[in-house]
């Protein structure tokens, strides 16, 4: 009898310890610290790369984060993710040209437009599974590109793109590189925080469950179509935000923002860093940008290098760099633990 009580007590104790751990993991303090650390990483990058590059990197990271939600967490590979980046960018460009002079309002419009586009396309494509999902999205992306290039050429400027000249309003001045940097960094942190909350919630666990076995999740009583759609829309919206920032950062929008071929870069960045991990997406975004920005300067055959790197990831480092680091760390930790326990025994 006493034994049972003791056992119960032990279980309870364990439960509480683990619970506390879980709670602090998701706690406010930790999140703030994480955000500060990410901010510091980007600030460290500035003196080496210049503010404009750090800004580019941060925007790219936002787009990769949005893609990671869809691909890394929910396991749905899309080859049409740039459509929403493009929708966000073009909406900002057009809004600032025809509707408003306020870039912040334009960003809101861009995000809303991307969200709506995501809702419409998502409603069709989330019903499709596997490879066909990737390719169907690609088809929609291609249609978007075509719309910009041809039927809407008169307002989008077609191939030449669209220059945005209303970049400053009130205190908001996107002509100023320093402002751009801080604004984009703040945006990145916001997006990260949001996705951090989403992915560590029950919803996040559900997404990972869907990734592993969607059918099984249906037999847990979840309408997976709905959640897939919600995730798709969320990813599209965040991507649209990234697109809106791209437009303001360059003061220029061009069809390249929704070029289907550029999608591979996002997939690559996501995998490189480690898919299904927000830090992986950040790291992947930074390293991909480093590779594509610096490598061509020193090395003409960067396509070759990219190919080899991709193969290496697929064959050797599935978890990407972050996953590799995690494995390395847990390996070291395990060794340290076993080492210390041995010590304890010898003592």
């Amino acid at each position: 009898m006493g034994n049972v009580v003791k056992e119960r007590g032990l279980v309870l104790e364990k439960t509480f310890v683990a619970m506390g751990k879980q709670l602090t993991q998701a706690g406010v303090g930790q999140k703030v610290l994480e955000l500060i650390l990410i901010g510091v990483v980007f600030l460290i990058l500035v003196p080496f790369l210049g503010a404009h590059r750090a800004t580019d990197f941060a925007i790219f990271c936002i787009i990769v984060l949005s893609f990671d939600l869809l691909y890394g967490y929910m396991g749905r590979l899309s080859f049409g993710h740039l459509l929403y980046v493009g929708v966000g960018a073009y909406t900002v460009g057009l809004a600032l040209r025809y509707l408003t002079t306020n870039p912040l309002l334009a960003i809101v419009l861009g995000v809303v437009a991307a969200c709506l586009a995501g809702m419409a396309v998502g409603a069709i494509t989330v019903r499709i599974a596997g490879a066909a999902f990737a390719l169907a999205n690609l088809a929609f992306n291609r249609v978007g590109w075509f719309l910009v290039m041809s039927p809407l050429k008169d307002i989008t400027g077609g191939e030449n793109g669209l220059s945005i000249r209303n970049l400053s309003f009130w205190y908001v001045n996107f002509r100023n590189p320093t402002f751009r940097f801080w604004f984009v960094l703040a945006s990145l942190l916001l997006v990260f925080l949001l996705l951090r909350i989403f992915t560590s919630s029950s919803y996040g666990v559900l997404l990972r469950s869907i990734k592993e076995d969607e059918k099984r999740v249906r037999f847990l009583g979840y309408n997976t179509q709905l959640y897939k759609w919600v995730t798709f829309v969320l990813a599209a919206t965040v991507a649209g935000f990234g697109g809106a920032l791209t437009a303001l950062n360059y003061g220029y929008v061009n069809p390249n923002t929704l070029d289907v071929h550029a999608n591979a870069g996002i997939v690559f960045a996501c995998l490189l860093g480690g898919s299904g991990r927000l830090y992986g997406a950040l790291l992947g975004g930074i390293i991909y940008m480093l590779i594509t920005n610096l490598l061509p300067v020193y090395f003409q055959r960067w396509e070759f290098f990219l190919g080899v790197a991709l193969l290496l990831i697929v064959f050797r480092f599935r978890g990407g760099i972050w996953g590799g680091l995690e494995a390395l760390y847990s390996g070291l930790a395990a060794r340290a633990k076993s080492g210390s326990s041995k010590e304890g025994m010898s003592r």
Partner: protein
């Protein structure tokens, strides 16, 4: 109009030759093979290389191109695809994309970035009911049809073909048979690569030969294969010709939209018949 249909058929024929291998690979191995386009490009380049350096006539050059590209296809299967066998779709997707990137760079390294000229090997025209057609185009269409029936025959009559068909139908089921299906799949892969190379060889005199020639046709290929149904060989045949025709006819009345109709058609088909695979 007759001409437009005729040229729609040529486009369809080339699309078929490239897509069928793609469809085959997907149906049997569940691999979306980006590298497919590099065998296509390779076919065209090897054709040129063998004409230039060996001085062989076009058709022998073409044979060399197809053979070597098939070999390259085997290499890709052996060293990339087979290692990812049964893995998640995404990884094969990405690995073959990597192969594509490497392949493009190797082509650039071997032959340079400049487009290469290839002449029409026949250069004659045929007069049918008052309509004049280049013989070469008729040949391309004819070859596509021959390949189609050849494949049908192959799938029906030979053991390998039967296993591949069974695999297309139910992959897990075939694996349960306990035969070394991998061997047959790899054959299907090489066959697909060879057909893609054939497509490249045949299209070379009509189009421009350059390192990125594959990446462009790839998107259309996706459209064809999805419209026809992944792994559905007859569907692929019909879809390539239907889309080829659609492209050609739209081009006549709405030039800007000629290519996008293929994707719209694909989206429509997917809408009507979602793929759960």
């Amino acid at each position: 109009m007759i001409y437009a249909i005729m040229y729609g058929l040529t486009v369809g024929a080339v699309l078929y030759l490239i897509s069928v291998g793609f469809s085959l690979t997907f149906g049997t191995m569940r691999v979306i093979n980006f590298a497919h386009t590099i065998t296509y490009t390779l076919g065209a380049y090897l054709l040129i290389a063998s004409i230039r350096s060996l001085g062989v006539p076009f058709f022998w050059g073409g044979a060399v191109g197809v053979a070597v590209a098939a070999l390259a296809g085997y290499g890709i299967e052996r060293f990339v695809i087979r290692r990812l066998y049964g893995e998640s779709l995404d990884y094969t997707f990405i690995a073959t994309y990597a192969v594509f990137l490497i392949g493009v760079d190797i082509v650039k390294w071997l032959w340079g970035v400049f487009p290469k000229p290839v002449s029409d090997p026949l250069g004659k025209t045929v007069d049918i009911l008052g309509f004049v057609f280049p013989t070469y185009r008729l040949l391309v269409i004819l070859l596509a049809i021959v390949v189609f029936f050849g494949l049908e025959l192959f799938m029906r009559k030979t053991m390998v073909g039967k296993i591949i068909v069974a695999a297309l139908d139910n992959r897990e089921g075939v694996r349960c048979l306990g035969i070394g299906v991998e061997k047959y799949f790899s054959l299907a892969f090489v066959l697909g690569s060879a057909l893609a190379a054939l497509g490249g060889v045949l299209y070379a005199p009509i189009t421009a030969v350059h390192p990125y020639m594959g990446s462009h046709i790839l998107l259309l290929c996706f459209a064809v294969v999805l419209t026809g149904g992944l792994g559905n060989l007859r569907g692929t045949f019909l879809a390539s010709f239907a889309l080829g025709m659609l492209i050609s006819i739209t081009g006549r009345y709405w030039p800007a939209g000629s290519e996008i109709v293929a994707f719209i058609a694909m989206a429509a088909v997917l809408l009507a018949r979602p793929i759960e695979a």
